[in-house]
Symmetry: C2
Subunit: 105 residues, 2 copies
């Protein structure tokens, strides 16, 4: 799991941007307005998100539409899935079983 994905999402404005992009692609200007960011900061945050692979850009004249990329989201889902078995009933029972074995030494 690449930590740069989490690092990108750790900044409130960037998380906000991601949430805006759930509705569909947006230009830098639109993002700046909807987040209350100044244009340079919006660009800079989008750069970080882009470097982390969370968004991609689609050019249209001198506007740039940013949109979400699916891959990192799939990666996160897979990672969460790998954590999920901790709370899996069967794993819990196995855990207790092993603990009991240890206790017998």
């Amino acid at each position: 799991m690449d930590t740069s994905i989490f690092a990108a999402l750790a900044e409130p404005s960037r998380l906000r941007i991601i949430e805006l992009l759930r509705e569909g692609p947006l230009t830098v200007g639109a993002i700046a307005i909807q987040t209350g960011l100044r244009q340079p900061q919006a660009s800079k945050h989008l750069r970080v998100l882009s470097d982390a692979g969370l968004v991609e850009v689609q050019r249209d004249a001198n506007k740039r539409y940013y949109k979400l990329r699916q891959e990192p989201f799939l990666e996160m889902e897979a990672w969460l899935e790998s954590c999920r078995r901790v709370w899996d009933e069967r794993f819990d029972r196995l855990d207790h079983y092993l603990k009991e074995l240890q206790g017998k030494d």
Copy 2:
């Protein structure tokens, strides 16, 4: 979605700790050894993870067993779910439909 969760996971050593805890609860000492961290750093990272609600501690004499908490993982799964609809087939079609409407102006 609380960004402190992502901030906690953004640090490589902390992500590693979480991944170790997938196997079950561990003491600070065990975590320090398995990650190659010195004990104080391990404690500090665990503090961050704890403040973010990702782990909880269970005392046993002067040892402390850290284990994963389920809630933030459920929260992340729900959040990812809210992003998922972007790639939903139907949403995509609606998007194209709206774009076509705009083009007619």
